[in-house]
Symmetry: C2
Subunit: 325 residues, 2 copies
Amino acid sequence: MIVTVTLNPALDLTYAVDALVPHGTHRVATVAERPGGKGLNVARVLHTLGEPVLATGLLGGATGTRVAALLYDEGVPAGFVRIGGETRRTVAVVDGRDATGFWEPGPTVTPAEWALFLDEFHELLGPATVVTLSGSLPPGVPLDAYATLVALAKQAGVPAVLDTSGPALRHGLLAAPALAKPNADELAALAPASRPAPAPPGGPATGSIVAAVRGLAAGPVVVSRGAGGLLAVTPDEVWECAPPVPLDGNPTGAGDACVAALSRGLRDRTPWPELLADAVALSAAAVAAPVAGAFDPDVYRQTRTTARAVIPETAPGGPRARTHR
Amino acid sequence: MIVTVTLNPALDLTYAVDALVPHGTHRVATVAERPGGKGLNVARVLHTLGEPVLATGLLGGATGTRVAALLYDEGVPAGFVRIGGETRRTVAVVDGRDATGFWEPGPTVTPAEWALFLDEFHELLGPATVVTLSGSLPPGVPLDAYATLVALAKQAGVPAVLDTSGPALRHGLLAAPALAKPNADELAALAPASRPAPAPPGGPATGSIVAAVRGLAAGPVVVSRGAGGLLAVTPDEVWECAPPVPLDGNPTGAGDACVAALSRGLRDRTPWPELLADAVALSAAAVAAPVAGAFDPDVYRQTRTTARAVIPETAPGGPRARTHR
């Protein structure tokens, strides 16, 4: 099974209001509650694909109980470590124009709770085929938490996919995960040179991303570039794959669908071109779905047959013919 | 004991942000969670005063569990009927300037759950000295719910204090509660003639409020007028009492502190002048406290010794000397 780790999950609330009026009082017309957090979206996508999956991480308080209940309702297998603090909420207030977001910081995790999670994670590595490590770290968890988890997974021979940002990403990369999936902005935050000013249409140049990745990571990295698609950079290869048609929809959760596809492909040792095409298709299908953690199966099937991975002309060293993995 | 009924309680969340940016994403710096709903504030104030109190009403789901846990932490005795729906949340986003509020509508209550509550309420009337009925009705509860509860209380010889608005207030008044406490706006919504245009400073004229009350209610009504203080209107008396010094602070919960004072005074058969002065003082002390359900004991003590109830010159029929009850 694929084990998805979410250390800072959330209860995602979406409030529909007529119009957001700063410093006014709003009667919320409808409330949507969903289990939130990037790793939970990965688990939900994999579960919908019929892949054996287990969602783990940290949950606490009444909000944590609610998240667990919502996952249970969706049939997603889950085994979380309980903590004393309250799992955070996110509130998205949606009016006719756009969403206004409020993100709680998350509970403070004690050293004893973190040690308990490490024990649990160690146990889960037995049956795991791949682990995914997604999202932010709650207060109290060490900054090198993902490096620790990557190292434990390596000892157990289980490949780890890392999708986070900031210091958690920088520390995690030092442990050389089997795969990392930052988006272009998250990469640029760690290696500002990867974003030249002014950026060309479609984001930073492929060459500068490749250079940034190779300066930061010893292993393969897939960089997501929104509508620009995915760029896979390994120590000696570069592949890119973009959606064949422009996408319109809800980009939240597209990166998590991408991680779902990549983790499954890593387990199956899928070659880079097919792997990237599948990840692009599942990401596009997630954009086409109204909520994070879901995807549009028609868009998935369609895009999967049309997306093609290529070796970019502009990659350092130019196109090469190898398609290993 | 005083039984406080809250049919639509809430988990009140206060989010501190730097500045509210419509359609932006906000990292919430701090989150405050409190048990919310007008009747819970009444219970918390009475409990802090050392009065025997029991908070009852409807609670459901993980949010309801959280509200019960927060009440337990504060030591407030509570016995709520569990429902299947999720208790609502309110979110107040506070930036440097003011608060922006989002109010969830509340769970839908089934007829079976409402019947269960009526049984529970009937049981609680045995030991009750006074009942307070505060706040909005959740979806599914009949519009004449408060009329039903007032009638049950009457049969048991227990005085009921009603503090609600709109149709719930209109229906409730028909059952002639021992006391009703609308604010001037809530009264004006039922009897628009009580708010002349333009309103004089301090709100509608005393005479028009008295006329409105006597047109709507057969029993005594205390109308709260913010800084203008309280106006008590009985079928044959009028009393008013205003805070001796202008108040600056948080008016949320001041009405609930007022109800707490009135319900205690009703139990003790306190004469109108002392009753109004006590209610004005406790309301002022609530304004001086940063959060609803709390009060500043120094302001309470001070205001209690200085507030004086008078028979207003402008009352229909002019000043009269009686101080009965």
